[in-house]
Symmetry: D2
Subunit: 355 residues, 4 copies
């Protein structure tokens, strides 16, 4: 089965392949009357855009978004918003090797096993290129939740983590790694460059914080805010792990250490800790919503790996071509987009039931 | 908003509160002609049942399931299967304290913030008691996927992990911790007992493995198998983290270490490693599907914690009553149930599109 | 596939068979804080209840509803509301004939063709008895839309229509036919009694009017208010036709006859006609929402009809037992319930998107 | 709320406005490996295309479809199929009158009441132009159900019905009315032309028959085949009534007249009548699936009609511009498309549950 729609009342559907003429998203359920233009979406696409530094794939894509419907006189009408991004740099390349043998770590084998058939050009639908459509949709979602600020940044690459003491929000956009720790960014430059030159790749951990989420968002029991975030994040290409608040670390704390005590606050309680990551019982508490997302290293590497052909014969494969040495870096804007998309949906869901 | 249904074509809806007369699940979309009786469901409920050892809550609930519909002459008819479990031991207790002040770590504040109103008796709908309904539904799901074997066990309590070298599948049901490592089980006995006596609590990590899943299950892009599992697991009470295969560890590996090389196999390729946890591009590869789930320590502890009243005044609260010192232990059967429910749904989804 | 849930954000799921121990509904997404008790639901069940006159089936069912969850101190909590009705009068009867041969007009053959298997006792899941669960759920829906008044009545039985000039709202509950025209009710008494005695059956047309629906409800394009109503009504047992406003008659009018001119009104425009039945472009206009629903004659008749056995051999069947001579009569409370369920869902959907 | 997706597992989402740059559909859940190209879709768009005779609107739109995704080497891959149709003839016109006052019978007032805002150019999203996207999606659906033949034709215009004795399937595409009765087509030519010249409009009834539907399709209880068809048809612009099989006429028959007796057949029973329209209990019986759909007369007429301005002042409006004198005519290909879309979805749903 194919399920290319995400969300309950604020929903988006994406379409398109790595090497097709275009890709896009249809955003449905957006409230009417919101000011929106391509200029509100483009900056987020630009953050995710490939080819901006040597630490990302060299594919050159302007990722220029067009809004084809759903607006009138610069405002949303409440009807579907169709977003389209043309593929420009589908370099003519020889895919005969990929067509024949499965690249380990990629979706080659599983897509073929499922569909009996696959578009092998650049990974087809399973390419991370599709996340451009999510980022575009995410920009629309942000316009629905102006009360929320969302920020994702990379906290670890190749096992080298930032020092929380050095955290500087202003650093995040000053280096090609979305890294809030200047010193770590410096180390990562060498680390990623070394991996790139060696034809290897590195994993990364992205953290995302949403501030300004009011208490009460979340749809228990099977569309809990944390459950929806987990689904949203785990669905991003190369993601293998998700945690909320203290996450796996919470499993190592005792009850009294993990509790987030409360004090009286101005409009809502003041929490003295945030191990819960802003979510209790699947519903936001008013604290910052915090999640961390683990990206595996890019599966495309120059080291030959054992594999099999479509016919089941042993062979080796080397994944040539243009690839991100650390796909988690460009994952940060995608994580932000998914956070925005989940929160916009939950805002509207909350309004539906609780007025 | 309230979303108490999970699944796309094999769906279940749960209802009921900790202290209501009963709780239950309606399973919809089950294929017809499957042999099913209460005896197929009860053993799974018994595994999750409270009061079976001093390491779990002392609430005494027989958790006897009744099937109210959907069967005829011992087989499923394809119509909704209504499962009901009566609450027996809703001990009359003084809830005036919980009614007044919010228990940190519980859903007390967030439910109140959302609904302006809550059933505070035993946590109401946010109680882990609801998971009995999931376990019952999960037993039906298992009948839909006889080709799959599902096994969950605890791999870590309070930061003390099992030794993988000691892994013995046969041990799992021999100790009250679903622990596959006899030595670890011995240590945990002391650890959990100490925490219990101290009125404290511990976190845990549960691992779940599904073998026999054929390649091809998973509904890209927004109902990927891993995405659905993440949602299913993160939606379990007290869960704060989910990972697939190597999970966060994958973020620390290099591309060549993380690759799962393939060799020719009998009916399908033979994988030489399983960092992917049996899922690539959101679709099963035919390898065992592996996930790990992090449970925070039970929020109910005897240490007084700062909190606020409904009126916003400072106070302290101690959560008396019957609680699990380590809620993750009884989480294992729930994790198994959610795995079964996701896989049954994905099996049918796959059949829908790919025949 | 089995789809026993209806609605988008205000959803209900029904379960149960004609001859099982019970049937019920789970209502999910209900706003919190609404006063609700079994006493609010029972009167609607009583209107639909069998055995109240000789013009309905003689099966004796008290149809006593129990609320098993979702309430606290007499108010809805926003969690699922589980409603259960026990079956009392599943008279032990010989079903061997029905088990062997298909009753024409019933779902016997189609259920068997679909599922390869069926519960033949009293029609199993396809029995109109299931509509009791809808009526119970519908009573909850009414509590969500107190601004709306819903009234269904029978306008035609066996081809004999009411005279609109005789329409008296107060008559509707004064006769066993929900008939607003006293004279017609008198004629129908003879008509239905004659059919009953002859072992035959009659069709009926039910009209339903909802007043107080504000302009703006409806979710274009594929959950339009009229589209949802059509689905809701066509899904009722024995219904074969649905029309909104002037309906098929509109197809015979010219544009200038069919137009509903507008004049300035107090808070909203005043419409000078209502051929649109209160819906334009799938969205309510503020006028009364009007639909008409055609019920076929009950398929259970004493006249022998040609049919085939499960093995494909020719035979004849006579449907003995307790049946409504005109199933459309008891359809009126079901039509009301479905109208309420659609409107409650649309109210919440509207609130989600448009605040 | 906005719901622009239809279907359960074979789903399509449409987007676009009458006067935007383009409109389109994203088809999701299509089985893989099906041969498909633009040439398979274009003929259906051509049937619906405006400007082909004087009996339809004079807007000139080539309605050229482009497939932007979901295909590889001429076959579907199982991923979303994005279809786009550019708007060419959005004639620059003065919309100041429509912007100010509501056109009775159109969605002008209801959209404004809902969204507080609307795209008034040519009806915006509520324009029947959107049905081009449905027709394109419907052509994909047809490829999923090659076993089914679908045919829609007009059986009545302005109250003048065909003579069933004159029914000639071959006539349907020989006249501009999709009329199977040559004599009726001749009469309609005068009738529609007279209405057109008078600036008036006429309603129509379209009948649609699907043959080859195997027994067993339909998802009881709330996605019954007839229920889904009713929703699909009632959601088409200008439709006010839907009936299945004998429809409202069944309400006038006695049980013994309405029964469809069965005789032994070759692979399945042979039905001696089809008052049920091929559906019993919401599940197909193997007989032809038959529905009839009532279209109101086009609301755009040259007769001045009383209305109000946005500011609530009385005025009159005349709807100038290019309009269909009988919108039901071009409704026939849309009815066919919706039938195909429902059946494709039900085929896959059936396969999901019943293998």
């Amino acid at each position: 089965m194919s399920f290319n729609t995400f969300g309950h009342v604020f929903r988006f559907t994406t379409w398109g392949e790595s090497h097709g003429p275009a890709l896009g998203a249809v955003v449905d359920g957006c409230p009417p009357g919101i000011a929106l233009s391509e200029a509100d979406i483009q900056p987020f696409l630009d953050k995710r855009r490939p080819g901006t530094s040597k630490f990302t794939t060299q594919r050159q894509e302007p990722d220029q978004v067009r809004i084809l419907s759903g607006l009138f006189e610069g405002r949303t009408t409440g009807t579907p918003i169709s977003l389209m991004i043309e593929n420009v740099d589908q370099r003519s390349k020889d895919y005969s090797e990929v067509a024949k043998a499965y690249r380990p770590g990629h979706a080659d084998y599983s897509y073929d096993a499922k569909y009996g058939f696959r578009d092998y050009r650049g990974g087809g639908r399973s390419s991370a290129r599709e996340t451009a459509a999510r980022v575009a949709a995410g920009a629309v979602a942000r316009a629905v939740i102006p009360e929320v600020e969302i920020l994702a940044y990379v906290v670890e690459i190749g096992g080298d983590a930032i020092d929380r003491a050095n955290f500087e929000k202003s650093q995040i956009n000053k280096n090609p790694f979305f890294c809030p720790d200047e010193a770590a960014a410096g180390r990562w430059e060498k680390l990623v460059d070394e991996a790139r030159k060696a034809g290897s790749s590195l994993g990364a951990v992205v953290e995302c914080v949403a501030t300004g989420v009011p208490p009460g968002w979340g749809a228990p029991l099977y569309a809990k805010l944390d459950s929806e975030l987990a689904a949203a994040m785990m669905g991003i290409n190369a993601v293998k792990a998700v945690e909320i608040g203290a996450g796996f670390e919470a499993a190592r704390l005792r009850g009294e250490e993990n509790a987030d005590p409360m004090r009286p606050g101005t409009n809502q309680p003041l929490f003295l800790a945030n191990n819960a990551g802003g979510i209790a019982g699947g519903i936001s508490t008013g604290q910052p919503v915090v999640c961390r997302v683990g990206f595996k290293p890019t599966s495309s590497i120059l080291t030959p790996v054992d594999t099999v052909t479509r016919e089941g014969e042993a062979t080796e494969i080397v994944t040539k071509g243009r690839h991100d040495p650390c796909v988690g870096i460009r994952g940060a804007p995608v994580v932000e987009a998914m956070m925005a998309l989940v929160l916009a949906d939950q805002k509207l869901l909350h309004r539906a039931q609780c007025g």
